[in-house]
């Protein structure tokens, strides 16, 4: 129930974890209920809610920051599934909507700081699209906190790990998104 977010063609993308062996070990099951952290092999009780977060990250900044977090051996929750895109400016609203409808509890779009976009202004365009979605999704009960936009630069590995931790904790507190519990397609 918690693991199929990744399975759609759109969402099928590499999930970058801070330890690859863990990802392999868990394969296609139980990722949602895994206790986070580098050395976690024990599993949480099955009824503990572990949110699924989809993060669309841009190749040039936030993905690089995630890479940096990994090579720096920083720990962040593996609730986060990264989808690498070339630029946040290419994240069409439909991908965010699809992620929610397939059961994501929250979606993050993260790219370069204003002025740093590799393609000059993709992140500004992303900001308008997120604004648009924030006018639409809350009307259907998807709380605005479940959709976030952040700027995390290539050298912000620490900030990346901190943001993911914060985000996962917040969504965990909020509980599952309605679309996860029942089919809304």
């Amino acid at each position: 129930m918690q693991n199929d977010v990744m399975s759609s063609d759109v969402m099928r993308n590499e999930a970058l974890g801070n330890d690859v062996s863990d990802n392999q070990a868990t394969g296609n099951e139980g990722t949602g209920s895994r206790v986070t952290g580098k050395n976690s092999t024990q599993r949480a009780a099955p009824d503990v809610f572990e949110p699924v977060l989809i993060a669309f990250v841009c190749n040039w900044c936030t993905y690089t920051a995630a890479d940096l977090a990994g090579t720096s051996r920083l720990v962040y929750p593996d609730n986060v599934r990264l989808v690498r895109v070339m630029c946040t400016g290419m994240v069409d609203t439909q991908y965010v909507i699809k992620a929610f409808l397939e059961g994501a509890d929250a979606v993050l779009v993260s790219g370069c700081h204003p002025g740093d976009c590799h393609y000059l202004n993709g992140n500004y365009k992303a900001r308008r699209r997120i604004k648009l979605l924030k006018q639409i999704l809350p009307r259907f009960g998807i709380a605005t906190q479940r959709l976030r936009l952040t700027w995390i630069g290539a050298s912000d590995g620490i900030q990346f790990a901190r943001t993911m931790t914060e985000f996962a904790a917040e969504i965990k507190k909020m509980g599952p998104c309605q679309t996860r519990l029942q089919q809304v397609m």
Partner: protein, 390 residues
Amino acid sequence: MKGNAMISCLHTKDRTINQTLQAFFVQVLEKKAADAVLVSAQVADGASVKPCLISHPDHMHHTVPLGPAFFVNTGRMVSRLTWKPSGKKTAVWLRPCEIKAFVELTKLSQASRDEVIILGMDCPGALSREDYDRFAQQEKTDPVAQEEWIRNRYSDPGNTIAGFTPARACQVCDAPWPVNADVSVLLFGSDLDRTINLKADTPKGEAFLSELQLDEGQKPDTRKSVMQNIGTENANAFQAMDAQIQEQTGSMEKLHRFFTACINCYNCRNVCPACYCRECVFNTDVFVHQPFQYHQWAGKWGQVHLPFDTVFYHMTRMAHIGTTCVGCGQCTLACPSHIPLADLFISVSRNVQAAFGYTPGKDDADPLPLAVFQEAEFAEIVGMGDGEAT
């Protein structure tokens, strides 16, 4: 063009309003003020009314310039005539929402104002397809009563006249009068037994009226107050509809229920003048799922309904056209499953448009909200804080 705009008039003496307008169009062709007129007409003598490009005066008697039939948003059809130059000048007769749709399409370079003169009407509203069928039936037996219906819509536009209530989209229309036309046809508050007044809104419109050498007209005295009344009434109707639809679709579960009758026919997309993509993503194989995928979904939720992606399709459309929805209501009119799509789309898009401070069709110079950006804006939605607006 404010203040002393040129106003001409047409005399309605002993004629119906539509006959008067037909004669006007004939004049347009005869005086070569335009090479052709695009106006709604009965097709093949049936009851169906569609925009027709008419270049010969003999065909003008089929036209129904004013009426409750609304089979197609003509704004979208004008784009077919103007996506590249034709070398012909066309006078196009449009409802206010059709003008808005056309203007939005010009911003997407899918239409051009260069070769058209937009004649915008004070709008009598439109009926649902079922109601229109009834109306057309009645029209056959009693044409006079129908002329009365149209006249009533202008003198005292209550919501129900002779048993016919305009479609919901028309009831909540925020501007059933022409905005951004070349010539406005002033009908609200007019003494339709005597004249119909035409006001030039642009230099192009003024040149057009000058060529026709019509008698001088004047603004109907009571038009403003009639418009104010309609404005208030429709704003109230919108508030009520907005509250109702938010109640009806306030959660994903409710939204799902709202769309259960959807069969993914995509009619609403096909008739939508704001759906601008040359190739819709839902026509591509982006969302053609693998067979095993359905089994995975069924495993996840216990069941999966087919066709799949109905709510997804509608939510994507909401995001794609939210900024430019002109509220014409064609989606509801075209839905074979009778889903009140326009109620939801109008409600959502007005919210979106308010957030971007954008009114579709109002001004050619206003850029599409998603085609531009500013460096300093919407700071409140960035980051993990809770200071953001909902």
